[in-house]
Amino acid sequence: MFSPLLVLLILAGYIGCLLLLASWAERRSMSDRSVTDKPWVYALSLATYCTSWTFYGSIGKAVDSGLLFLTIYIGPTISAALWWYLLRKLVRIKSSFHITSIADILAARYGKSHRIAALATAVAFMGSVPYVALQLKSVISTFSLVAGGDSPLLKFVGPLMVALMITYTILLGVRRMDPTDRHPGMVATVTAEAIIKMVALLSVGAFALIALYSGPSNLMDNLSPERLTQIMRLSTSTGSPYVTWASYLLLAMSAILFLPHQFHLAVVENSDERHILTASWVFPLYLLLINLVVVPIALAGLASGLAPAQADTFALGLPLAHGQSALALLVFLGGFSAAMSMVMVSAMTNAVMLTNHVILPVIDRVPALSGLKRRLLECRWASVAFLILVSYWFELTIGDSYILVNIGIIAFGAVLQFAPAILGGIFWRRGTQAGAMAGLSVGALLWMHTLLLPALSKGGHIWAGPVRDGLFGLSFLRSEAMFGLTTLDPVSHSVFWTLVFNVGLYALVSLFTRQSPEETVVLAEFTGLPGVAERKASLLAEDDIDLAEKRRLMEEPLCEYLPKAEASGLIEDCMRTVGLLNRTKTSVTALAGLYAEVEKAFSGVVGAAAAHKALAKAGVFSVDETRLLSDVYGGMLARMRITPDEMVRRIDYHIERERLLTLHADELRETIRLREQEILERRRVEEALRKAEENYRSIFMNAPEGIFQSTPQGQLLSANPAMARILGYGSAEELLYSVGDLGRDVYAFPLSREKIMLALMQGGAVDGMELTMQRKDGSLIWASIIARAVRDESGSIVRVEGLLADVTERKRAVEELRDSEARIRALFDATSDSVILMDTEGRILAINERGASRRGLAPEDMVGHIIYDHLPTNAAEIRRLQTQEALRTRSPRTFEEERGGFYYAITIYPIMESDGEPRQLASFSRDITAQRESEETIRRMNESLELRVRERTRQLEEANQELKHALDQLTTAHKQLVESEKMASLGGLVAGVAHEINTPVGIGVTAASHLEDKTKNILVEYKAGGLKRASLEQYLNVCDESTRMILSNLKRAAELIRSFKQVAVDRSTEDRRVFHLRAYLDEILMSLRPHLKKTEHTVSVICDPKLIMDSYPGALSQIITNLVMNSLVHAFEPGEAGRITISAAQDRDQVQINYADNGKGIPNENLDKIFEPFYTTRRGRGGTGLGLHILYNLVTQKLGGTVRCESTPGQGTSFTLLLPQGWRDL
């Protein structure tokens, strides 16, 4: 069992596939590659006859009445023998009159009467409703069987199916207005559904017969003899079996053609009457096959214990009872297909009839509804929905009361009523509209009374009075025993009385009524016999009728139903058909022909009756024109001096002749079309040949290899440009001209040609023979030849054809490769390492000498072996693991291996193929035993070295400690020396300054002493009273001069002391301050005056007085003092007059001080030692060797500057000091 939703989805998918099939068929049809205009498709489309009644009702009927069900299918088989006469005639009438339905054919035959068409529509509708209801019932009930459970969806299955069928019918069958257009999509789907339902039913039959019971005999053994007998014979509840059999046969024989959907498929959808011949045996074959399994399914159902009352559903119940859900689903789809195809076609054709013959006449009569004339398509859609909804209502209210078997026969009984009027209409010339009306109406009423009414009353839906007591209480009018006939079963009874009254009234009323002119006109085409008419002779008509006006009159009624453009197009087509296009005037006879053509074409849209009525109202022919037409036809008769019958016979003869000529023309057209196809095919083949020749020529001319043909004697017949190029010729023509004999002119050795010819004679072909050839310039090349010998009938070689390729480079490359391989091989074998090439399994592909000899084997002995077999177990395992790891990681693996006391360093390289997968590995194995031993030795030596290093380190540390102590002492001594040097310098400075001060102080003392003496003298004179003016003046002069001398010398001493003090303070305190450089330099020089005074040297200072420094003046003083003292001590010889220049200038944020003397200079070898401590050239002569060292330290460390010394022996020495102008951190 499936869920309802799943079944619905499967159904939706199935319908989707059918719609796609329909769409494809429509597209193919539009592109003139129709798939449905085929005889087998036509034959299988008639299988719509096998509805869900076949699926379910047949089996029920088989269980109930035995083999009676076969009449439903044997009947059409018998009637198929008549199809070539009957059906073909109907098809031709359909083509001539644009017949769209059964009602249409009756209307067209019987005077285009709306009444008979409406009556036929009503009968068809009443017969179709129960039949469509039967299909709906089967689909709904089988859906519930397949989709079990109590899903709420089950309540909506009915409305869903109804909506589905309405939509499906409209989409496939009612999309266009002109129903005479065929529906390839619809035909394709019904054909596909025919195949599906046959497959489904045959599957169930095979399941029942083979899977369940393993054959017919086993199946029959599982049933009681009585039950078996009941099914295998003909049994009826009442009446004679033969009569029942015959009645059913008759019903089925009429139903196959006169059921509305069958009529549509057999007549309207026919595209070629020759298809009828195929259908006449294919369709009965289909019926035979599909009925082969009905009895086995019925027997299997009973044998499996299913209830006989549910025999309708054996086809579904049998697989469901045995758990074959998929098969049950297939059967459901088959039953659904059977129902769907019938409902679709029936609804479509009933909608056409309803619209054309019921709705349109009502619209004509009710002006308020005239707007619906343009909505005929929508009316058809509404009619489709109406039929299906009424059928659904019928199924809901009445369908439950019956088993399926009954409803089908009731419908057959209804359509049987068409048979007399249609068959009489096409075979009997005396049939009239009144007769057809009488027969059809009474037959339909009797059908309702004898078949429909009893069926309805038995279900309790209507009053059973007429059935039980007779109509109007008249016992001889009882529904199932009319006129006292009680020996027949109800169906036979109904068939009998309906046919008696229908045929009887049709014949009687027709004999006593006249045919209308409209009936007479069409009689010939329907029956092929002339009608009775009287005409007057008349003159031939002239072309004096305004065609445009008549066209306008004919267009008016058409425009009530069609858009103007469509109406105009229809009339134009008709005018073209009768040859009146582009004419302005016409004759009345031609106008009559046009009128008839327009009516025929329009009847395809609205039906014959409506078309006739609409055009008749248009008043196309005036009274005079009508009379003229009559006169024309009468005149024709009079001139021809023949009776009207004879004229009609002649006309019929010429019509028939025209038809045959048309047929012949069609055949000729077909022959021409086939010839044209042949020509096209031939042109296509020629074009293909030409293209092939072009391709081969292109290959010949452009091939990179030489292609040639030659005679056995060696003469070239043809050669391509590549051949010429290979042999050094400019073109193929030059080659052919120049080479007379291949053996002599091309082959380097004539025997080569002999060799090739021998090979060709023996084997017929040469493949890749390499020979030396000579080019045009005499140079030799290697060429490879592929050639074959072409022989004649006697087997002699008549021609050699082949390919030539220059393989010189390849040969050379092969040689080089061989050499390269030899070199590599030599390297391979020369290495002291073991080299193995192996596959991923460890199989040795190649091994060098070293590797093989390690194992005591030769390389060729090891190739093909597994390397692990030549290793100890442990080593083999390790090797294997490492190999696998190398393969996995695709990177080299290096490891060590110990075997037999030897150590090996092994590296395994995976060799990647072009696809990145490693398929081979290279293994390099180096004997590292000696290396291991060396390592061990080194390790031991390292150990002892470490011990010694540790000991040595300890000793060094001790020595270092001692050295550090000594260094500290030296540093202290150095400091002390430097300090003492400074003190010595300072002492020198003090001594110098003291010496200097002594002079002015001495002079002052001397002047003061002189003054004291003079003062004493003057006092004496004063006290003596002999002071004279001149003495006083002399004393005052002496006072003045003395005081002046004292003051100046005291100032001088004070200046000296001040400057000394400053320098000394600076030297002693080492403070930083801002000072004027020029003034300070002067002060320094002042402090050095005592030393400078003793010499003849000149000291000049060049410096901007405004130049300021923020630095350590003490250090600067020390520096300048050391430089001057050095010059005085080392630069000049005693008594020499030298020159010392001190210049200072600002250089950005630095001050550059240059000190230069023109002394003897410093030798180059001493120049880089002068700043070292204790370096002196006057050791023992007053030089301590610390002066310049102290200067260097003061400049670089204290002042943060640089000092550089340059000297040229004999020319003096200069020191350049670069000091920061401002203080900065060092």
Partner: protein, 83 residues
């Protein structure tokens, strides 16, 4: 060349034969399973007959001489009979 199956009236003959064949067993009501076998056997035979008749009619249609038996002269039943 058209064989006997292509002759006019062949389908009528087949029709008559089928009527007889499919009514004969019912008239005599065979016993047991014979009716089923008879009916299906007759059905297969009917299909074979129809096949041959159709083939004959097809060949007759292809033969111009037979397709237009009354091409040039009117016959009193001209148009009344299907060829």
């Amino acid at each position: 060349m058209v064989n006997c199956w292509g002759r006019p009236g062949m389908f009528s003959f087949v029709f008559a034969a089928l009527l007889l064949v499919f009514n004969w067993p019912v008239l005599s009501i065979p016993e047991g399973g014979e009716l089923l076998a008879w009916l299906f056997g007759a059905w297969a035979l009917a299909i074979a007959l129809l096949r041959f008749a159709a083939r004959g009619a097809q060949d007759a249609c292809a033969d111009p001489a037979l397709a237009q038996p009354q091409q040039d002269q009117p016959h009193q039943d001209a148009g009344a009979r299907d060829v």
